[in-house]
């Protein structure tokens, strides 16, 4: 038998704590595969954010610091500036990055911090029980938008990578989804590219990954995948928004 999908070397062989059908597990794997294929495990330092992935350090064989809510880009800045030859990445959810931590990510981007940002967008607050996130879709029901998100009252979904792609310090910005093997393959390339932006000293690299939250969406896992495809992808267009390695950028 030929092993074609071995467990990434950078991932610990333990069960994940995430809810059934949540795609954090896939995204963890993509990050670990990128770390493995770039050969950077022993010089990588991760920054865990507040949210469902707060315990990410239990799953990766790399050093980790856990940051206050939203502050992961600032913590990552502190690490990267004193250890410029190390690889530093943050792993943040939409509440963490797009709401309370929007100043930290914008200014890390403006400074062109040589860090990689893995941004997981499931359009809802998972850890705290399904409240509205900045990325919650218009009309979407959450515990704090019980009648559906009313744009007049609560604003509309924030498209983060579009915002960041316009900042000079950002070298790579992309959005992908992890809802099918083909999309996961594209997401893998994006995660690697976001790390390469740092390794090549070009600037901040960010990948937004559309993810699922079956429990708080109140959908079975397979339907959650379909819901993400049908509703999130139209609201959050996929693709590479910026890549400074490409000509014309």
């Amino acid at each position: 038998m030929v092993e074609v999908t071995a467990r990434p070397r950078s991932l610990v062989d333990v069960p994940l704590h995430y809810c059934p059908g949540c795609t954090h597990g896939i995204i963890h794997r993509l990050v670990a595969e990128a770390i493995d294929s770039l050969g950077i495990r022993e010089r990588t330092i991760g920054v865990a954010s507040v949210g469902c992935s707060v315990f990410i350090y239990n799953y990766f064989k790399v050093d980790f610091q856990q940051a206050p809510h939203g502050r992961a880009p600032a913590v990552a800045t502190g690490i990267k500036r004193v250890l410029p030859d190390r690889v530093v990445f943050t792993y943040q959810g939409d509440g963490d990055l797009a709401s309370i931590g929007i100043a930290e990510i914008l200014h890390a981007a403006a400074r062109g911090e040589r860090i990689t940002v893995i941004f997981v967008n499931n359009a809802i607050y998972g850890m705290t029980g399904g409240q509205m996130a900045p990325t919650t879709l218009s009309g979407m029901k959450t515990t704090t938008t019980p009648y559906g998100r009313d744009v007049r009252q609560a604003g509309g979904a924030l498209r983060v990578v579009e915002l960041l792609a316009g900042i000079d310090g950002v070298a790579y910005a992309a959005r992908e989804a992890v809802t099918s093997p083909a999309r996961i393959h594209r997401a893998r390339r994006a995660v690697e590219a976001a790390f390469r932006a740092q390794l090549e000293d070009r600037g901040l690299g960010i990948v937004e990954l559309l993810s699922t939250c079956p429990v708080n969406w109140k959908l079975p896992p397979v339907e959650a995948i379909a819901w993400c495809e049908a509703n999130m992808i139209p609201a959050f267009p996929l693709g590479v928004l910026k890549d400074t390695t490409r000509s014309g950028e």
């Binding site: 495990r41 022993e42 010089r43 990588t44 330092i45 920054v47 865990a48 707060v54 315990f55 350090y57 990766f60 064989k61 790399v62 050093d63 980790f64 610091q65 856990q66 940051a67 206050p68 502050r71 600032a74 913590v75 990552a76 800045t77 502190g78 690490i79 990267k80 500036r81 004193v82 250890l83 190390r86 100043a103 930290e104 914008l106 200014h107 400074r111």
Partner: protein, 350 residues
């Protein structure tokens, strides 16, 4: 020894670099702006890192990252900025990360003003952030003492793996005095817990303990450290205190004024002395074993340190308060008058 005339804020910055600090993160706020300005010029020359953060919140979290990566790291700010930093300071206490944070206090509450004050006493000694938080608080009263306390601050921070707060005030930051600077020392190597890249077993720095029993053990371990600090790190200066019948208690710039007032009263034949806490936390309770007839607390706040003095004395002697607020610094004459009122028993005693 070569003496240099330096502004307090600049002396603080230079002393930090000489003490091996190699990462400074700050945000402009009056009256401490000379610190980031000095660091911007001199930290790169020392091979260190300076970043002007977008906020005090970001600045303290950059300190978190740099400290976790094993480098001597510092932030400075003034009162409203210190409020913003307390989130990060609580996380650093929870994560057992050392750092030095200087709070060059100004008048409050709210935006208040930019005049010198000591109104953050409760905040630095009681509420360094949410949870059961304490950090060592050092209160210099001269520019030379700022210089002398910077290496102490970093050493204490690393010994106990806790933030150390340098509580100064606007006058100390802005005043110029001659100082003798120490020879620079090389920064210590990163400690073995630092996240420097996982060669071997990955290291994790975190303040989260989801199981109540685990968090209780973590906080109890912090409390053992707090107790050790209370027993070992009390610092104070006693001035003309041995035979004093009235003892004034004051720290920082208020102690400078009180000291002049004590000299004035001594010249008049009154047995007056001064206890000057150098550590505000741990409060130097050992300095309060003698019981003169009366105590008078002089502070640039609305009666904050007076509570620690009363706790230290446990009702053994009456304690009065002469507190000025709003950034008003009393003159030695005004403090002399307060002392005489105290002697005459004219202050409302607690």
């Amino acid at each position: 020894m070569k003496r240099t005339l330096m502004k307090g804020n600049e002396a603080l910055a230079e002393a930090a670099i000489r003490a091996g600090c190699r990462a400074y993160f700050g945000y402009p706020i009056t009256p401490q702006n000379e610190v980031p300005e000095y660091m911007a010029r001199h930290m790169p020359k020392a091979g260190g890192v300076f970043v002007q953060a977008e906020s005090e919140i970001a600045a303290i979290n950059m300190v978190h990252g740099a400290s976790g990566a094993g480098v001597r790291a510092m932030a400075t700010t003034s009162s409203p900025g210190f409020s913003l930093m307390t989130e990060g300071i609580s996380y650093m206490i929870g994560s057992r990360l050392p750092c030095v944070v200087a709070n060059v206090m100004r008048g409050g509450p709210g935006l208040g003003n930019i005049a010198p004050a000591q109104g953050d006493y409760f905040q630095v000694t009681r509420g360094l952030g949410h949870g059961d938080t304490h950090g060592i608080v050092l209160a210099p009263s001269t520019v030379q003492e700022i210089v002398d306390l910077m290496p102490v601050a970093f050493e204490l921070a690393e010994r106990y793996r806790l933030p150390v707060i340098v509580a100064a005030d606007g006058i100390l930051g802005q005043m110029m005095e001659p100082v003798t600077l120490p020879e620079p020392i090389a920064p210590p190597p990163p400690p073995d817990w630092a996240t420097t890249g996982a060669v071997g077993t990955p290291r994790v720095i975190s303040s989260i303990y989801l199981a109540p029993e685990e968090l209780e053990q973590h906080v109890l371990s912090l409390m053992r450290t707090y107790q050790e600090i209370r027993e070992r790190e009390q610092r104070w200066e006693a001035y003309r205190a041995d035979d004093a019948e009235v003892l004034v208690v004051a720290y920082g710039i208020a102690a400078r004024v009180a000291r002049s007032a004590v000299d004035r009263e001594r010249a008049q034949g009154h047995a007056v002395g001064l206890i000057r806490p150098i550590t505000l936390w741990p409060f130097p309770t050992s300095a309060f074993e003698r019981s003169p007839r009366r105590w008078l607390v002089v502070e640039l706040s609305a009666g904050q340190m007076v509570e620690d003095v009363r706790l230290a004395l446990s009702g053994r002697a009456p304690v009065g308060l002469y507190g000025r607020v709003g950034g008003v610094v009393p003159s030695p004459v005004e403090v002399s008058e307060a002392i005489r009122s105290a002697v005459a028993g004219e202050v409302a005693w607690a």
